[in-house]
């Protein structure tokens, strides 16, 4: 990972800039607008999520056909496919309660800070606490499992 292309981080940064500008322009950085969608008062969010998914979907479909590997990493072009298990449903449901209560998700929270929303630090602090809690718990149960099998 240390011998990455010198343009690797600059390109990630530029991608992030465009991504964040879009979250600001679309008002997804405003929890009120997300809550208005969830309460069926403004369905605009659908255009953001599916608009973005269509644009990225074109790249996911086209790139593997025209090149084998990405220029800055040498990684193969692959689609984002994650294995399905019960965690997708349990985690998705917990995320849904949090998103419905707060109106904010991780990417939009970073962008919200950028548009001047200092109050969103409450949400960011909460997200780190939540990520830490699940990581602490899962790291421990993992160690316990390996310790148990190691003892056999």
């Amino acid at each position: 990972m240390s011998n990455r292309h010198p343009l690797f981080k600059p390109l990630i940064f530029v991608g992030g800039l465009i991504f964040g500008f879009g979250l600001g322009f679309s008002h997804m950085a405003r929890p009120e607008v997300v809550l208005n969608f969830l309460q069926f008062e403004d369905f605009g969010l659908l255009f953001v999520m599916f608009g973005a998914a269509i644009v990225s979907g074109i790249a996911f479909a086209v790139m593997p056909r025209i090149r084998d590997t990405a220029p800055l990493t040498g990684d193969r072009y692959e689609r984002r496919l994650k294995p399905f298990d019960r965690n997708v449903l349990v985690g998705g449901a917990v995320f849904g309660v949090g998103w419905g209560l707060s109106g904010i998700c991780p990417g939009a929270a970073y962008a919200s800070l950028g548009v001047g929303n200092v109050t969103i630090l409450w949400a960011l602090a909460g997200m780190f606490v939540g990520a830490y809690l699940q990581g602490y718990w899962r790291s421990r149960s993992q160690t316990r499992d390996t310790a148990a099998t190691g003892a056999d």
Binding site: G15, E32, G44, F50, V55, M63, Y77, G130
Partner: protein, 185 residues
Amino acid sequence: METELLVLQLAAELFPNGISRYAIGGLLVGLGAVVIYVGTGIPAGASTFLESTLSYVSDQSRFQQYVSSRDWRVVFTLGIVLGAAAFAATVQSGVITTSLYEPGTTGQLYEIAGVTLWTTDVQPWRLFFGGILVGIGTRIGKGCTSGHGVCGVGSASKTSIVGVATFLTVAIGTAQVVAALGVSP
């Protein structure tokens, strides 16, 4: 003539702020993900940053697995913050004006050094406790609105489509219940 009027009326009810700011913003979000994917082959997601950044301060194995990607994830997040700040300094501040941008009336605007900034009216306890659940749920559920919602759906991944359907449905139910209980904003 009458159906035309009906369509316009329906559109105004479903989309009281128009669709252009949403559609253009969505295209830009997608474009940001495409730039990163084309250059690096990485389908970017925003929530892994929470765990990868914790690896700087915690030895837990769950966070240490992200050590190799934690540096660029900080760069990605910094880009998102500054990209949104660039939006605030230009379009939100009225330096760039376009009929495609509907400013809306949510939250509070304030000014620092000629830049129009925005802050939310949503109560801190909602943000904090909602944030905790977002932190737990996105990490257990293998992704958030960008990883599952944009890159996963864009990849036609069944896992992501089921994930999105799950969190969208639960979020709608939660927001409706919270509103029905009279919590606002």
